[in-house]
Amino acid sequence: MAASDVVISFMILVSIYGILALGLNVKYGHTGLLDFGHVGFYLIGAYTAALFVLAPDDPTDFTTYVIGLGELPVIGTWGTAILAATLLAGVIGGLVALPTIRLREDYLAITILGVSVIFQRVIQSETWLANGPDALRGYSPPLQSLFPLAIDTVVGPLLVGLIFGVVWAVATATLGQFRDADSRLPLGGVYGVTTFGLSRLHRRDGGLGSVSAVGTLAGAIAGVASAALLSVLGTLLALGALVSLYTWFVAVVAVARRYGDLGRPEWGVGVALGTGLLVSLLPLPVLGSVGLKSALTLGLLGTLVAAYYYGVTRVEWLADVKLTVVAVGALWFVSLWYFVLPTLGPLGDGDVGGALNVLAQNVVWVLGFGSDTGITYAVALIGDLTVQVDYSRFQLVGFVLFLVGLYYVLELAVRSPFGRVLRAIRNDETVVKSLGKDPFVYKVQTMVLGSALGGFAGALWAMYAQGLTFTTFAPRITFITLLIMFLGGVGNNKGMILGAGIFWAFQQATTQLASFFPPAVRVNIQAFRLVVVGILFLVVLYYVPEGLLGREDNSPSEVDG
């Protein structure tokens, strides 16, 4: 698997858990309702969606489930399934809330934890409902049969256009925000080109002139244009390269914006941290003996952590930027891992073309490489590149769209007077009562909204996993979501996405590391990482209780111009 494929599946998981954490954040972060049973609504969403798209139960095979609506028109589609999953999880969240919401926060948490375990046990023991303790399978994600896309049909270019258009829209909207927020960066020219001149609309306020509207329009144009170009010229690789390079440009601008102000010493420490991490991991692929390589790696890692700890506790200027240098180090490490490490193998063999080939595969991330079904292009210096648009990239685009859309909808809610009442309830419910507002009604609405988001995430999980087992929906998931929430910053919607990103980066990294060990050890590492996650939770609560991004300032001072 190329590094870009790892990143794609990572980002899919981040979107699912991001939405799940957004739901929990509505409950705890904004309203102060501690819910230890969030996974229950995730479960309801997942199973509801699966039952909507499954074909009617076949009594002759080994799976049994109560109802399968997959063969009905409209109702049996994924769109309806996601909608139904969201609605049902929301309604059940509301019903659970009606009797329990009067409880004080820790009692509420434990009660809903119990409810979520009940849901899980029902799925496990009621064999007629959703195949009991065995996996519920037999459905496929939407449009999967169209992949790998054939470019010479009508549907192929359209879907590629859709994917490229969405990527373009998200990148352009991000770039537009950077341009608005930071006039020092000379982005006007590039933005003008990538919006196809639409950036002029910005002069007007709101409506068509908003950054998201311009981004959407630019994305639509880019999508239609690439669909047209594809069907006429078939230049998939060139278009993919263009779109990918654009996203890398936006990423570089984002890094420059965030860390461009840092001085050389800070950058130096960050780069040293990242390089140090890489160096401490080097014994893993190089050495043979399990004992030797784990001892050496752990020793080097320990030295690195000790050096960092010594630095941030003894050096004054370093203490002020202790989280920033870690972020810079992580970025540096990820860049090395993504761009440099994969080329080392071919370079070691003296195969420059091969190295460039691998590099190209990782840079042009919107396209999948190396399968035998795609279109083959011969490129100078690099050699043959077989490219195709695979299903996971299509899925990623959809999931990211969902995440961005739900994030936007939630931001609207929490920045409105409704969100203000929620924050007031978290601060002091009695005040809310004394001001003529019924906290009960708001708390029930919060539970409905948060649980519905949990259900939405569950439906996406069902789509991604293509099979559901009750063991997946253990209370563990709730606590992982809580970790994500505390990591990113309670009450900060952006923090949920960051938290999900860090958690899944950790999961992916440990999976990769485990592959350097023999299978017997690998299992232990996989099990051990849950312990590490627990320790991470403690460290976060102890050292950064407000989370990495902190609580977001929703005060109106920000809004008024």
Binding site: I67, L412, S416, P417, V421, N427, K433, K437, S555, S557
Partner: protein, 324 residues
């Protein structure tokens, strides 16, 4: 100043276990006047406040606000009954329908019947439960927000500011019936909500200016000093456009200069037609402010009268000095 009673307290009783906090208190609060409520510690003043503002459920006696019994005001309204009855019917009906179709394997016609029956049972069950609870002897509603909506508001003895929210947000929370407090409006009628929000913000800014704490507009309320919090609370209840304001120790812990300012504010608000009832331990303040003073002792009204009468009343002096 109309002089009509707007709050009538009659034989109010409240016990906490063996302690009788309020024991048959009977008095009236005149509209457009400032009524002081004083008494030694443990006289039941704050408990009376909690009863009048609906935060406690009385064990006996009645409170009438604007001619209506508090219990009647706090009882669920008709539209609330429609919402909850409908929700109850919908839920039970849906569950019945799913059960009939999925579990019992009935056809669609009986399933529709089961759904309808379930819906009827849901609505009926909710209404019957409401009726039964409301008729149960001694049943009391504790829904103080209904009183605040009708213009009877209170502040708290220990200030309850919303510490993580700014002073401005604390004030902007208060106005009644903001369209944006409805989630659907917040999503789908954003223009209207934004307009209203701008108006509310302007009013809140004016209020901060009036209270002379406009320099703290964007300061989290938790960072305010004790006196500034008292001012903020007063401002917050004023944002509600109330008729009657119950102030529980408004100047406790406030420095003399600020106390002076607060008293001026209350006086000028009274002349604008607001009605105040004030619990306060600072005799200077209460004597200067009040039109009428009610002295409570051991859960009962001891005396009532103009400040000068109270100052010289032997029963009051005895109660405060503990002479039987």
């Amino acid at each position: 100043m109309s002089g009509d009673p707007i709050v009538e307290v009659d034989g109010l009783r409240k016990t906490f276990g063996g302690i009788v906090a309020v024991d048959g208190a009977t008095f009236e609060i005149e509209e457009g006047a400032i009524t002081g409520l004083i008494g030694p510690n443990g006289a039941g003043k704050t408990t009376t406040f909690n009863l009048i503002s609906g935060f406690y459920e009385p064990d006996g006696g009645t409170v009438r606000y604007d001619g209506r019994d508090l219990q009647e005001i706090m009882r669920p309204h008709r539209d609330e009954k429609v919402v909850w009855g409908g929700a109850s019917g919908l839920t039970i009906g849906t569950l019945g329908g799913i059960g009939a179709l999925g579990l019992a394997g009935l056809g669609s016609a009986p399933a529709v019947g089961v759904t309808a029956a379930g819906a009827a049972a849901g609505v009926g069950g909710y209404l019957a439960k409401q009726r039964l609870t409301q008729r149960r002897p001694g049943h009391t509603n504790s829904r103080p927000y209904m009183l605040a909506r009708d213009g009877l508001v209170r502040t708290f003895q220990l200030t309850r500011e919303l510490g993580e929210m700014t002073a401005l947000e604390n004030l902007m929370l208060a106005p009644q019936g903001q369209a944006g407090e409805n989630l659907a409006n917040a999503w789908f009628r954003r223009d209207a909500v934004d307009r209203e929000e701008a108006a509310v913000r302007e009013r809140a800014a004016e209020m901060l200016e009036l209270l002379e704490i406009e320099h703290l507009t964007h300061e989290p309320a938790g960072n305010l000093s004790g006196g500034q919090r008292k001012l903020l609370e007063l401002g917050r209840v004023l944002m509600l456009d109330p008729r009657v304001i119950l102030l529980d120790e408004p100047v406790a812990g406030v420095n003399p200069a600020l106390t002076e300012k607060l008293m001026d504010r209350i006086e000028s608000l009274r002349s604008e037609g607001y009605t105040f009832c004030i619990v306060e331990h600072d005799m200077e303040v209460i004597m200067e402010l009040s039109d009428t003073i009610i002295v409570m002792n051991e859960g009962k009204k001891l005396v009532e009268g103009a400040p000068e009468e109270i100052r010289n009343d032997q029963a009051v002096i005895d109660a405060y000095l503990g002479v039987g």
